[in-house]
Amino acid sequence: MSGPAQIVVDGVCHHYRPAVGRTVLALENVSLKVREREFLALLGPSGCGKSTLLYLIGGFLPTETGSILVDGKPVAGPGPDRGIVFQNFALFPWKSVRKNVLYGLERQGLPREEREKRAQAFIDMVGLTGFEESYPSQLSGGMKQRTAIARTLAFDPRMLLMDEPFGALDAQTRSLMQSELLAIWEKTRKTVIFVTHDVHEAVYLAERVAVMSARPGRIKTIVDTRFDKDDPEVHRTKVFIDKVDEVWNLVREEAIKALEKRPS
């Protein structure tokens, strides 16, 4: 599972500059290597900057200090090589499921027949066959997220950046989506960077979990979470529970720090 590093983050700092109020240091000297085809989770308390780091890798925010290299090239802006999935789905509400999924394919200028075929294939893959003409407002949370995932997978990005994608879903749907995502990942084997604050989710899904400190965010520790996850009852195995404990202890200190820092 190791291979040439695909994303290299080196010494990145980022400031959050709101229109009103003081500038805040969001990320401090973050360094991270993400390997090709790896599933890495970014885990940390609220406000630690994990989403910010994701947006920097995605090219939605400019890199101020330090460097971010994707396949050896510095990030210069958003692009279809790094597909993103947001927590609030970010589906185009005026487009049907099919049109949403087609959008990235249209941007790439694929011929019509090929576009339609690919779009349908991914709609089927996420289990939304039959809902092609539905609008996002007619879909449940889980279905919306599946549409978002299908949309991002359809244009075949080299990696997936996922920003707490299941955060807005209820617990049952979330757990269903987690196993589905794992299944899709095992089939497509893209590099995935998955941001979450949920320890169970991170340990279940990822091969490595990068625990971030409270603001200003740094990479505190990286925990290896590779083990057999095929067992449907894996959540109850000793391996899993031990890993969760290990990671949780690391996060807890930071979570307390984050709480103390927050003005209430």
Partner: protein, 262 residues
């Protein structure tokens, strides 16, 4: 079947007060409590409208008024969206026009009518310009608000998928802002009608406003009431058409609302 029946029932229920009002009007007018001058009977007004339609100038007047109102509205719509978009995306445009818009919005711009007449004369140009001056404001503010409220994640997703700046504007920004832009247009339409009627009353000539003012000068109360009914119907129809257009364009949006109503 049941749904159709209950739909019909509700339409009837909603018409009932209107029918009652008209009946009340007729009865009150004929009762002798007021003179036919003060309140001509509804039937007399209908008769007058009929005469105007088939022997007089009703259709010319309606046509002229509608032309001016809709031309002004169209210019205000396009101009307003363009200006609003520019203001939303360009800091200099925003800085320059913001005080003009925020100070100008609550002004009774109809006060500028004599100035507009001075500059542009007594023909359609000045009437249409006045409509544009009044109707553009709600469109601009609605466009700015609509564009500002587009979630950044939508834009980021589109850029993520390779959309370029121009494509972002037409394919993402404007469609996402459409609900609010349409609201602005729905506010602007009645304004256009109000203004066109006032300008016609001031300047005279053809048009429903001019005709009504004429009737008023000749103390022809049937003519005045006929004008009110005609304009009321036109206003109602235009607003209803606009609402239908909105429902059609926002099918994807309204669905969500329809679900919650159940």
């Amino acid at each position: 079947m049941h749904r159709m029946a209950s739909g019909a029932f509700w339409s009837a229920a909603r018409l009932a007060p209107i029918v009652a009002l008209l009946a009340g009007w007729e009865i009150f007018a004929r009762s002798g409590a007021v003179t036919p001058f003060m309140l001509p009977a509804f039937s007399a007004v209908v008769e007058r409208i009929y005469d105007d339609a088939f022997g007089g100038e009703l259709f010319i007047n309606i046509g002229v008024t509608l032309y001016r109102a809709l031309a002004g509205f169209a210019i205000a719509a396009v101009g307003g969206v363009v200006l609003g978009t520019a203001m939303a995306r360009n800091a200099v445009a925003r800085w320059f026009f913001d005080p003009i818009i925020s100070v100008g919005f609550p002004m009774p711009k109809i006060a500028f009518l004599p100035v507009v007449i001075l500059w542009l004369g007594l023909y359609d140009v000045s009437k249409i310009s006045m409509v544009v001056l009044d109707a553009i404001f709600p469109v601009v503010t609605a466009t700015i608000a609509g564009i500002a409220s587009v979630e950044k994640e939508l834009l980021w997703s589109a850029r993520n998928m390779g959309a370029r700046d121009r494509e972002l504007l037409w394919q993402i920004l404007l469609p996402a802002a459409l609900p609010q832009i349409l609201t602005g247009l729905q506010v602007a339409l009645p304004i256009a009608l109000i203004v066109v009627v006032v300008t016609e009353m001031q300047m005279g000539g053809y048009g429903l406003g001019g005709a009504m003012m004429q009737a008023s000068r000749f103390a022809n109360s049937r003519g005045v009431f006929a004008g009110i009914v005609e304009i009321a119907i036109i206003g109602y129809v235009l607003v209803a058409l606009m609402a239908m257009l909105r429902r059609r364009l926002l099918r994807w949006h309204q669905e969500a609302q329809a679900v919650t109503e159940v």
